[in-house]
Symmetry: D2
Subunit: 359 residues, 4 copies
């Protein structure tokens, strides 16, 4: 089940070691300017190999669009978007070919499908998320027309950072997408320390959506917040998702947590922009907790495909933390959710039908 | 979009003020004993009015099954399950009929659908979750055949409790489903205090699933953990969902967070039973953060449907905390997710087809 | 899989021998007047027992709406519609309890689900189509707002009738919904003859949809014509579906079959209102071929559930032809398809989004 | 909505004038031998340019598989299959660029999406069906494991042929896939005559499925026959679909049409292998009516995009009849439907779960 979304839906394909990864984007309205420069710039934000805080593996991640666009505009037919893999060449796997890597999906894929693909993450690799970002860029192009905007960044690395006054402008230019000028250096240091000790470190990403119209979300089982949770938890390495006050709300009293209402809007936004699964016009605030990269270069206990206990010593190049590049994927997934809900919300009232069909 | 699930799917209907709430359960295999006593006992666990820690509103919540069962067994056709509402009678709403209640969905429903139903939560009321619990009971009956089991309870009320050594047996008999004998009294006290001060309080529920076969979860977009997140975040009042180490993993190092592997299983279970979105055979550990009940009896600022600022003084009977009854709903939603994935997982290997079709 | 439709979707439940049959209708926009008198009148058109050309079994088929409507208007939440069964009482089945009825689904249901429900058609009974008609009436109420209209009737009974100049007004008042004043009597005679000889007879129904906007249909796999074919072939007893020139087009030349185009529309309508799976603004013309009722009262060869050869002598009351009441079901299914496509078509162009979201 | 199928599902993309057409095949069980030679041979059967009865346009139609296969076997991840377009180069469209072609979808696409792509059929072109055949070949590889087999051919061209004693072996080697050795020459003559008179001609294709297990089909809204109808009516140029006795059953009596049952099977097969939407173990017999190719080279009346009346004189190379190559597409679509239903049928009984999960 490699499809995400209902009306604005992506179907992705491809593995980390294959020739290509791709997404087919279904449901893009016709007449949208498909700005390739923007799409490429979004994919670029997720690309590794740009500095010492992410993997040293370099791929050019050039986006190609194979269908659904004519003279620069979407035609209403599916848009196929692909990115070639450049680093999929076989290397020497002999020392790890039979060993399950702790924290990785090779154990579960092997048991589910009975296939041992020793060459790496395959389908479960975060490589696939590059096309989510490409597809998300198209969602953003559509949502720009309604002035809906997305922001993201990293609030914490290994417990260091702060949980307020996020500086999204600063994050854009930070090598680690840090949301805090005053914590960026320390956060960088933690990443480098993890890397130098052959270890990895977790972190927290923030996504914020603004200018949403009131009314997005299809209760009871395609709610805005439940879709966000689905989208975020499905990203590689995510172990917790919060909306609005999130974890904190479980410790609070109703009188503190309720967002009272004034003429010009809600007094607070503990709800994180969602009431009853429907957007209330406030910003949607999402917090995403990423585990540390499971690929570490310290010796670990594991078993091989025959069930024998072994010691694993990984080699290679990996991100010392997932959250940096993961924050971009989270922002992309948020844009896919919103694009879907924007289309689904049309036709919610009988008056909308008349507006659309009768001039 | 009132359907949840793909192969084992529920479609629910009904509002808190209508005659009836119901669920149509589609995909139940034929030949399953539909144990009505068990189903009723599950619904009973969610029912309010049993003690002073939940709402004083009493409904008998008697489950009726209208289709899909013949001589006590499922027939493979859809099972319609209904519960009558007994407390939906109109009362005097004149003082709040035009006012939006902070923390409630009436604001968003009104703006989305253009309808003002002043009689209460309507479709957005937690009343609907009663049929989720009924449907979840049928899922559990099916999963029992594979020995899969579900446990739940409340770990924290208003920040009080502990995050380890959950006593699920104790929780079963606790009036507040507390997982901690040593914290139960204090937790009860907090609830009563909230109630007496006309306020409400948040809390944390835990769901644990054991004996899952390895292999459940359909990557990349119908993963076990992303579905769990979807299911849990969609429950009324939930603001955060964690799997396994969850929030903690974002603060940890890979060498601590990775679950190393021995012959007889994983050394730790920070993954919470899921790797790459697929069950790994360990218990699935879920933590669900509920906000305080939004219905409080302190004066609050709000606006009316005309946008005028007003003061709201609610009256009535409400749960002082959602998490107690919410924990039962969370357990039910978990069972629906697993039932769906159990069916979807069949046919994952070509060998399964032969096993199923060729004797 | 008891759901039909994507955005305007029904989930049905119930068996012929149960207490109730029902449909949950999901996706009805809010603010629609739910005219119960109209809905009941539509269901009445399908009801048997009104004359000697249909079954003598009488059920009052009273529609009840249990949710989704407030003060006479749809609220945007699911509408549950039920009809009670009145004739489901157990009778003496001893002579046929173990025998498969030729032309019926009991053979396949038994082999698929392993359940022998000897009391009749159960889920496979045409009884269920009563709620399709009820749901279709709600679809029609919605489509009336766009002036879309549906007509139906019976063109042939047992090969007698004509394939042109359908008189839909006449059909409305004909006891057999005949489209031909000059053939009605002969058609009635054939039905009575079939009945008196303990046999049954097949026939052809016509459905016509007018005033469709251009553009309905979601290529390539949710086309207007393929959905119509799906909807019609899924009705009990249907064995062939034609659109426009249908079967005839397979015998014709392109120069005859192509519909040339003038300023004010297409010169002919061999396409039946659909080009490339999308409505072209002409009437959608559908022809549906019903087999004879499989329940006949002549001795037939069959086997029992143990595989032993037996002779079957059915008793009871059945329609001597399916097509009469089936034509009403076909019209209802057409309205469900169009309601779904009307909603799906919103958001096809980027300009529609602005129209809907930006004032 | 460019996805077909539920568990075994294809998502297709690409237009006739783009670089590439493709399909992502989701739900293929792991461990299946992906026999590229077979897949290519199937696509070859649909390819034009091989003789004078189909288009003279030649494309090599070489299938490439980009994902989902490792060491020759399916891995359980999505299989992306592409075919490059070789003839998509721009030619001189100036004389027809603004004119709608009668019988074509350019009229409806233009009105739906507001885009005028003058270069040809684009997404609505039958070109896309090449990847359906590729995907269908993978479905067949899976179904071979259960010994399920598919046959097809052409029974009538322009009304010439016969409706019995189909010779599927003969059809395989016939240039026009004719099912009748005694009619093949006359059928060929009709095609050539149509071609030489710059016209086109309709025809009928037959698909037969054998060795189906009893029980395929998910009532009530994912029935075997309704899915077949959907799949067939969605093929370019199809205007009618029949199952079993089809059209004939609407003229017959129940005593003739019912298939009586003996120990070793049904006496006749008027049902066409389907009862109540579920396979009954007999062969599934499908008849598909194709209209004549709409691209003819006789002058036709039409309008341009500005609504002005014009005369259209098409030039180019087109199939004089769709049915020949269309029969191969129909066979492929049938295999996709069956693959989907085979997977969906697993888990129909509680006993199947135990068989699959408990050794």
């Amino acid at each position: 089940m490699n499809r995400f979304g209902n009306r604005f839906a992506i179907t992705t394909f491809g593995e980390s070691h294959g020739e290509i990864i791709g997404a087919v984007i279904d449901g893009v309205p016709s007449g949208l300017n498909i700005d390739l420069v923007f799409i490429q710039s979004e994919v670029e934000r997720r690309r590794g190999g740009k500095n010492s805080y992410t993997t040293q593996r370099k791929e050019s991640d050039e986006v190609e669009i194979l269908s659904g666009v004519f003279e620069g505009k979407s035609t209403g037919t599916p848009i196929a978007l692909i990115i070639k893999n450049e680093n999929q060449k076989s290397k020497d796997y002999s020392n790890v070919a039979q060993l399950f890597r702790p924290g990785h999906a090779d154990f579960t894929y092997f048991h589910k499908y009975g296939i041992r693909d020793y060459r790496g993450g395959g389908r479960s690799s975060a490589r696939e998320t590059a096309v989510r970002v490409g597809a998300g860029a198209i969602a953003k192009l559509m949502l720009r027309e309604l002035n809906i905007k997305f922001m993201s960044g990293v609030s914490f690395i290994g417990g260091i950072g702060k949980d307020r006054e996020y500086d999204f402008e600063f994050a854009k230019n930070s090598e680690i997408y840090s949301l805090s000028p005053e914590f960026e250096n320390e956060q960088k240091r933690i990443i480098i320390e993890a890397k130098e000790s052959h270890d990895s470190v977790g972190g927290i990403a923030i996504v914020k959506i603004i200018n949403l119209p009131i009314g997005l979300g299809e209760p009871l089982y395609y709610k805005l917040d439940s879709l966000i949770a689905d989208a975020m938890m499905g990203i590689n390495g995510v172990k917790a998702v919060e909306i609005g006050a999130g974890v904190k709300s479980s410790k609070s009293m109703g009188s503190d947590n309720n967002d009272q209402i004034l003429k010009n809007g809600f007094v607070t936004n503990n709800a994180g922009g969602v009431l009853g699964g429907i957007s209330n016009g406030e910003s949607v605030d999402i917090k995403i907790h990423f585990k540390p990269t499971p690929s570490i270069f310290l010796e670990q206990k594991t078993i091989d495909v025959f069930g024998e206990e072994k010691l694993l010593n990984l080699k290679g190049r990996h991100d010392p933390t997932i959250v940096v590049r993961g924050s971009i994927v989270a922002e992309a997934m948020a844009s896919l959710v919103i694009a879907d809900l924007v289309l689904l919300n049309m036709g919610r009232r009988i008056g909308d039908l008349k507006k659309c069909y009768i001039n």
